[in-house]
C-alpha cells in the first residue's frame, strides 16, 4: 500500500480577480521511502499543494479530490483529528527559516512542542529526545542550542532546527517546501545532504518542492514539473533529465546558467506565468510556447507516455522532442 495517495487534487482560492485555480487535477502515489520532487516557477501552485496536503490551506480555499495517508482518508477527518496527523504522521519544513521560528520561544521549547503533543513522552524523556534530535541535525552542543533563541542562530542553524522539529515524531511523509532557497549556496548543500540522510535513515517518504533543478536532480527519485497549477511532465528523475519532453521543461532547463559557457545572455522563457485566476483554455503554456498551434489553444492536452513511467502533457510532443531546441544536458 502506498503511504500517500493523492487523487485528482484541485485547489481553488478566492481572489479579487476571481477564483484562482492554484492546483488542478494532480494525482500521484508515494511509496514508503520514495522521494518526489516538484519543480516549477513561483506561482505555479507548488506551495498550495503542500498546504493542501497538510490541511492548512488559507480560509475560503476550495479543496477537491482525495488525500489518503496510510489508507486513512484525510479529507474525512475533522479539524481535531487532523491536528493529530499534522506534525505527527506528516510534517513540513518551510521556506523561510528566518521567520518560520517563533522569535520569543527558545529552540528547545519549539522542538519539544510536537513531541509533547503527539508522542506521549514525559517531560524528561521528551527533553532527552529533543537534545538527541538537535544533535542529529548537526547542532553540536545541543544543550546550548536548546536554550538559544532563533535570533542567536544563523539561517542554516535555524533550518536545522526546523528539520529537527519536523522529524521529532517520526513522520511517514516529510514535505520540504523550498528548504534551501533562503540559504547561502554553501549551506544549501549541507541542508540537502541532511534531508537526504534523515529521509533514507528513517525510511520516510519525501516531497521536495523547489524551483531549483539542481536541487531536484540531486535529491529525488521522481520528479513532477508543474505549470499553471497542473503537472505537465513527470517521470523518474534520470529519465526526465535525459529526455526533456515538455517544451516548458525544456525552457526551464535552458534557463539554468551553465558554468563554462562563456558570457552570454541568460536564456529565458518568453512571457510570464499565467494568472491562476485567468488561465487560458487549452494548454496553459500555449501563450509562451514557440511550438504552439491553433489546437493547443482550444484543446486541453492529456498526459502522453514518453518512456517507461515518463509522460508529458503536450499536444505537440513529437515536434517538441524532435526539435528539442535546447537539447538534453545530461
Amino acid at each position: 500500500m502506498s503511504v500517500l495517495e493523492v487523487d485528482r487534487l484541485t485547489v481553488a482560492l478566492p481572489m479579487v480577480a476571481g477564483l484562482a485555480r492554484a492546483v488542478r487535477d494532480v494525482s500521484f502515489r508515494l511509496e514508503r521511502g520514495e522521494t518526489l520532487g516538484i519543480v516549477g516557477e513561483s506561482g505555479c501552485g507548488k506551495s498550495m499543494m503542500a498546504l493542501a496536503l497538510m490541511g492548512l490551506l488559507p480560509e475560503g480555499a476550495d479543496l477537491r479530490g482525495g488525500i489518503t495517508l496510510n489508507g486513512c482518508d484525510l479529507r474525512a477527518l475533522d479539524e481535531k483529528a487532523m491536528c493529530r496527523v499534522r506534525g505527527n504522521a506528516i510534517a513540513m519544513v518551510f521556506q523561510e527559516p528566518m521567520t518560520s521560528l517563533n522569535p520569543v520561544h527558545t529552540i528547545g521549547k519549539q522542538v519539544i512542542e510536537p513531541l509533547m503533543l503527539h508522542s506521549g513522552l514525559g517531560r524528561d524523556e521528551a527533553n532527552a529526545e529533543t537534545l538527541s534530535l538537535l544533535e542529529r541535525v548537526g547542532l553540536v552542543d545541543p544543550r546550548r542550542f536548546y536554550g538559544a533563541y532563533p535570533h542567536q542562530l544563523s539561517g542554516g542553524q535555524r533550518q536545522r532546527a526546523m528539520i529537527a522539529m519536523a522529524l521529532s515524531c517520526h513522520p511517514e511523509v516529510l514535505i520540504a517546501d523550498e528548504p534551501t532557497t533562503a540559504l547561502d549556496v554553501t549551506i544549501q548543500g549541507q541542508i540537502l545532504d541532511l534531508i537526504r540522510d534523515v529521509v533514507s535513515e528513517r525510511q520516510m517518504s519525501l516531497i521536495l518542492i523547489s524551483h531549483d533543478l539542481g536541487v531536484i536532480a540531486e535529491t529525488v527519485d521522481r520528479v513532477f514539473v508543474m505549470y499553471g497549477g497542473a503537472v505537465v511532465e513527470q517521470g523518474p528523475t534520470p529519465d526526465v533529465f535525459a529526455r526533456l519532453a515538455h517544451p516548458y521543461t525544456q525552457g526551464l532547463f535552458a534557463a539554468v546558467p551553465q558554468v563554462g559557457e562563456g558570457r552570454r545572455r541568460l536564456r529565458t522563457i518568453p512571457g510570464t506565468v499565467p494568472e491562476l485566476a485567468d488561465l487560458p483554455g487549452g494548454c496553459t503554456f500555449a501563450d509562451r510556447c514557440s511550438l504552439a498551434h491553433e489546437t493547443c489553444r482550444s484543446q486541453v492536452p492529456d498526459m502522453r507516455s514518453v518512456g517507461e513511467n515518463h509522460s508529458a502533457a503536450c499536444l505537440r510532443l513529437d515536434a517538441a522532442m524532435a526539435s528539442s531546441s535546447f537539447g538534453s544536458r545530461r
Binding site: R86, G87, N102, V104, H118, Y149, H151, M165
Partner: protein
C-alpha cells in the same frame, strides 16, 4: 541587561529632574499668591509681608527651587499651607486610596482588553468581532466622569449594590473599601479598555499572519492553542507600549473620578490644593504623579525585555 537597566535608570532620573523644573516654573508663572489665599484679599500689608517671609516666598526663585528639591532628597517634603501638616503625611494617607484604585482600574483594563481583543481577532469578520468593535467605539467616546455618574445612578441609586461615593478607609475592612473603589475603577477602565481592546485585536490579527504561526499549526497545535502559545506573547509587544502610555491618562482620570465619587485620594488632594493655592502640596503631588508615570514606563521597558528576548540582547 545591566547596561539596559543603567540606561533606563539614567533616563528616569533625567525625566524627574526635567519634570521638577517644569512644575516649579509653571507655578512661578501662574497667578495666585498663597499668602493672599490664606489671609484673604483685604489683609493688612504687614501681616501679608510677615506671612510671605514665614513661607519663604520672599527668597529668590532659584533659592526656593533648590531648597524644594534638596528637601525632597532628604525626605523633607515641606508643610501644607492649608492643613498645616507635613505633605508626606497627607500624601501617604491619600496614596492608600489612589494606588489601589489605579491598580484595580489597570487590572480591569488589561483583563477586559486582552480578552475582548483576542476574542474579536479569533472571530475576525463575524458578529462577535463586529460587536466588540462597536462597543469599543462607544467606550472610547464615553467621558469617564459622565459614565461614572451613570454607574452611580444605576448601581448605587437604583440597585443599591455599591456606595455612591466616599471611602470608609481600609480600617473598615477590605471588602467595604474595595466595594467603594469598584465603580470608580470601572469608570476609569472602560475608556482605556476600549482603546486597548482595539490595539490587541489588530496586533493579534497581524501576528496571526506570521510564518511561525503556520509552523505552529503544522506541528499539530489547534487554532486555540496556537493563539495562546504562539500568537499572544508576540502580539503583546504593542499592547504593552500603549498600556504604559495609558497609565498617565489613568492618573489624570483619577483626579476627575475621585471628585465624582468623593474619594479622598491623591487626585482630590491636588484638586483642592490648586483651589487653595497650597503650592507646596501641588508641587509635591504633581511631581509624585510624574514619578509614578515614569516608573510605570520603566516597568514597561523591563516588560519588553521579558516578552521579547531580542530586545535584551540588542541593548546589553
Amino acid at each position: 541587561m545591566s547596561v539596559f537597566l543603567a540606561k533606563r535608570f539614567a533616563i528616569f532620573v533625567a525625566t524627574l529632574f526635567g519634570a521638577s523644573v517644569v512644575i516649579f516654573l509653571a507655578l512661578e508663572i501662574l497667578p495666585g499668591d498663597p499668602a493672599y489665599a490664606i489671609l484673604g484679599a483685604d489683609a493688612e500689608p504687614s501681616a501679608y509681608e510677615a506671612l510671605r517671609r514665614e513661607l519663604g516666598l520672599d527668597r529668590p526663585a532659584v533659592d526656593r527651587y533648590f531648597s524644594w528639591v534638596g528637601g525632597m532628597l532628604t525626605g523633607d517634603f515641606g508643610v501644607s499651607y492649608t492643613y498645616s501638616v507635613p505633605v508626606s503625611e497627607l500624601v501617604v494617607e491619600r496614596l492608600a486610596l489612589t494606588v489601589p484604585l489605579a491598580v484595580i482600574a489597570m487590572a480591569l483594563t488589561v483583563v477586559a482588553a486582552v480578552g475582548l481583543g483576542l476574542y474579536a481577532a479569533a472571530h475576525h469578520n463575524t458578529i462577535g468581532d463586529w460587536g466588540v468593535m462597536v462597543f469599543s467605539q462607544f467606550g472610547i467616546a464615553l467621558p469617564n466622569f459622565w459614565f461614572g455618574i451613570l454607574l452611580i445612578l444605576f448601581f448605587s441609586v437604583y440597585l443599591g449594590w455599591f456606595p455612591s461615593g466616599g471611602f470608609p478607609g481600609w480600617s473598615a475592612g477590605t471588602w467595604p473599601a474595595l466595594k467603594s473603589l469598584l465603580l470608580p475603577a470601572v469608570a476609569l477602565a472602560t475608556v482605556q479598555a476600549a482603546i486597548l481592546a482595539r490595539v490587541t485585536r489588530s496586533s493579534v490579527l497581524e501576528t496571526i499572519r506570521e510564518d511561525y504561526v503556520r509552523t505552529a499549526r503544522a506541528k499539530g497545535l489547534t487554532r486555540t492553542a496556537t493563539l495562546w502559545r504562539h500568537v499572544l506573547r508576540n502580539a503583546l509587544i504593542p499592547v504593552v507600549t500603549i498600556m504604559g502610555l495609558q497609565f498617565a491618562n489613568l492618573l489624570a482620570g483619577t483626579i476627575v473620578i475621585e471628585n465624582v465619587f468623593f474619594l479622598p485620594g491623591l487626585g482630590r488632594l491636588v484638586f483642592q490644593a490648586i483651589a487653595n493655592r497650597d503650592l507646596v502640596v501641588v508641587k509635591d503631588v504633581v511631581l509624585l504623579l510624574a514619578a509614578m508615570v515614569v516608573i510605570v514606563n520603566f516597568v514597561v521597558d523591563l516588560a519588553y525585555a521579558v516578552i521579547d528576548p531580542r530586545l535584551g540582547a540588542r541593548d546589553a
